[in-house]
Amino acid sequence: MKRSLQSMTAIVAAMSALGAGAAAAQTAVADPAAPVEYEGTIKVLTKFGMQRLAPYFTELAQEYEAQHPGVTIELIQEDDDSVKGKTKTLVASNSIPDVFFSWTGTWGGNFIRGERAVDLTPVIGPDTEWGKTFAPAAVDAFVYDGKHYGIPLYLDAKFMGYSKPIFEKLGLSVPETLEDMLAACDTIKEAGITPISIGNKEPWVAVHYLGQLLAYNVPKDVLERDFDPATAEYADPGYVASLEQFKAIADRCTIGAGMNGISYQNALQELSDGKSAMYYQEIIEFDNSASAKTKLKPEEFGFFPLPAPKDAKGDPKALEGAPEGYMISSASENVPLALDFMKFVTSQANAKVLSAPPYGQPSAVIGGADPAQMSPAVVGGLEDIAEASYLMQWLDTVNHPRVAAAWLSNLQAFAGGSVTAEEVVAEVRAAAAAAK
């Protein structure tokens, strides 16, 4: 306990000293003609640290090493929460791995701003051989200043997963509007079942609800303007409306303020155990919610996009989500080998493995999602993603860190009932002003 803080303070000082002394790496551009030398070590930072996902990269690394005996793939596997801190620690100490995970939006933009990522346009751009193997929207999500920096691995979006047996037992159908869903919650609650399990101990959970509601209530151009602290106003009435809608969901569908004391993983487990009727989740969690090992079986699992309110002023066809992928470090001493490994990872055969259970991560590779091998729910989710008018990026990665922190902490307070919707928006507006 004590040592960890002492160490952390020392790390802050040491990392800052290193950061101060060392200039950021120069922008590097991938050369498609560069020969691959199958020798040396490639370090890879993944977001597949969870027990269910870890074998994917572990097995691929072993397979690649077997094909190329002179190569060692060193994996650093983190989970959704820890990868953020790990990445920043590695960046600050100028030891970022050759290949590293990245979200789209501001998160990925940080690496471009700091010239930490290789410009991959010559190898993954729209007219390149490798680039043509990906869904264009997925590759384009990693475009910054007209250049391609990311290798998309899978597509992700948020849906409301539900238990078909509970819905059938109570005579409920898939809600068309937010008002329908709230009415369904009342029915489920009367039956003594938790309508929606939610764990907001990790505060991004409520932020994900709000992200989708903002896409419904605030016009896209206004959102994009407000995401940039330089032009942010947060004056649109859709912000307060979205918060009030979230409050209605919290009050009528969940355990309310108690959500702040529950982990999202426990909440997900409640749906899997048949103790709740719904859980708002990412498509990459579908195969975790319902599997042969859970009480809720895959055929009993259904999903629908969080329904839009009737009079939504934004875009009711928008869907919250974004592809997630990897970048190549500009400090890498063996960029061609790192790219070769990622080409191997994103081959059609390996993409199909990624899309199928137990991983259930719908690949961004064209033809990499084989419906015959995948869960029907994941296939259906992919169709919804394709039909969405646009993908609303995660609020906590698209915003400036200070603005994201304001959303995270204030929404937790809002869920706990200690602040009003207007106060939340005011705090976010203040954070954006401070971030200018």
């Binding site: 803080l5 000082a13 800052s16 953020k84 801190g85 505060p203 004391g261 982990s263 307070a413 706990g416």
Partner: protein, 321 residues
């Protein structure tokens, strides 16, 4: 001290006969002392580099704004300290660290002392060993594991604590312990006391065992009862241990990190933030290393002040004795 004095007297140790030859008597001890430094030079360099340099550097970092992605550094003087003074979360964190310190002193110092005295007062050696072991077991579990354990104990509806309250017909007391801003930090502190209590008890047990039995025998012959013996013998003769435990407890309370990170992450709405978690949030999540370093300086100042006060107190007690 004695080594350098001996070297100075002989003029032959380490440096050989030529060491002081032809030099003045004042220069000889100085040279000898400088030569003696080589024996601790490695340790000095290591301590300097890994302990003192980061402390000094941390202060310089706190006068800058740094962007870890670009490596850009901007000098901002004392702006981060001004911002720190106006940051309501820092105030909250200081309060939480303070509450941590006060409650830890109550439970891990005074209550642990009383328990140690009671356990050592037992006549059966077997029972003494049993209670010592029983109280020490929680300390053998890592903080992270304990944090997760108590996270489940505190779970609303399905947690053991709420289940116990329901079983005792005290359902109205059940609570979202970690999800309520009013109770979150105290739920964490309670867990920490559960874990640290046995360790403190063991240390007091060792201190009590060092007290000569003859003192208790003499007190008994003079008609002193158990409470009188506790107050007049045990308490004064464990004063140094008590002082040390207070400084360790207070310093630890201002460096607490793991349990908060595991159980609440500083939430809800920053209500359970302590200086350590707020430092982490600023440095590693908000990319604000300069401000994080300023928070680190506050932690250093508080723990340093505690150490100085304790040294002063201990020295004063020795003089009085």
């Amino acid at each position: 001290m004695s080594l350098s004095a001996d070297i100075g007297k002989s003029g032959v140790a380490l440096g050989g006969p030529a060491l002081g030859a032809g030099r003045g008597p004042r220069l000889r001890p100085l040279l000898s002392r400088l030569l003696a430094l080589r024996w601790i030079a490695v340790a000095l360099v290591l301590v300097g580099w890994f302990v003192y340099y980061p402390i000094v550097d941390n202060f310089f970092v706190s006068t800058t704004n740094q962007d870890i992605f670009t490596g850009e550094v901007t000098q901002v003087g004392l702006d981060n300290y001004r911002r720190l003074a106006e940051d309501p979360v820092v105030g909250r964190a200081l309060w939480n660290n303070g509450a941590y310190a006060v409650l830890s002193i109550v439970f891990q110092v005074f209550a642990a002392f009383c328990l140690a005295a009671i356990v050592e007062g037992l006549s059966s050696e077997r029972w003494r060993n049993f209670w010592r072991a029983l109280y020490f077991v929680p300390s053998a579990i890592s903080t992270t594991v304990t944090g997760l354990l108590f996270y489940f104990i505190y779970q609303p509806d399905i947690g053991i604590l709420d289940g116990l309250l329901k079983a005792l017909n005290l359902e109205h007391w059940s609570h979202v312990w970690l999800g309520d801003p009013q109770t979150a930090i105290y739920a964490i502190i309670a867990m920490s006391q559960w874990q640290g209590f046995g360790y403190s008890t063991l240390l007091f047990t060792i201190a009590i065992q060092k007290i000569p039995q003859e003192l208790y025998d003499a007190a008994r012959m003079d008609g002193a009862g158990p409470l009188r013996q506790l107050w007049s013998i045990t308490f004064p003769l464990t004063r140094e241990m008590t002082g040390m435990m207070i400084i360790v407890t207070v310093t630890g309370a201002f460096q607490v990190f793991n349990e908060v990170m595991v159980m609440t992450g500083g939430g809800p709405n920053n209500s359970s933030q302590v200086l350590g978690t707020w430092l982490y949030e600023q440095g590693f999540n908000q990319n604000d290393m300069g401000y994080a370093a300023a928070i680190g300086s506050v932690v250093f100042a508080v723990t340093m002040l505690t150490g100085i006060l304790q040294l002063w107190y201990t020295r004063r007690r020795r003089v009085l004795a």
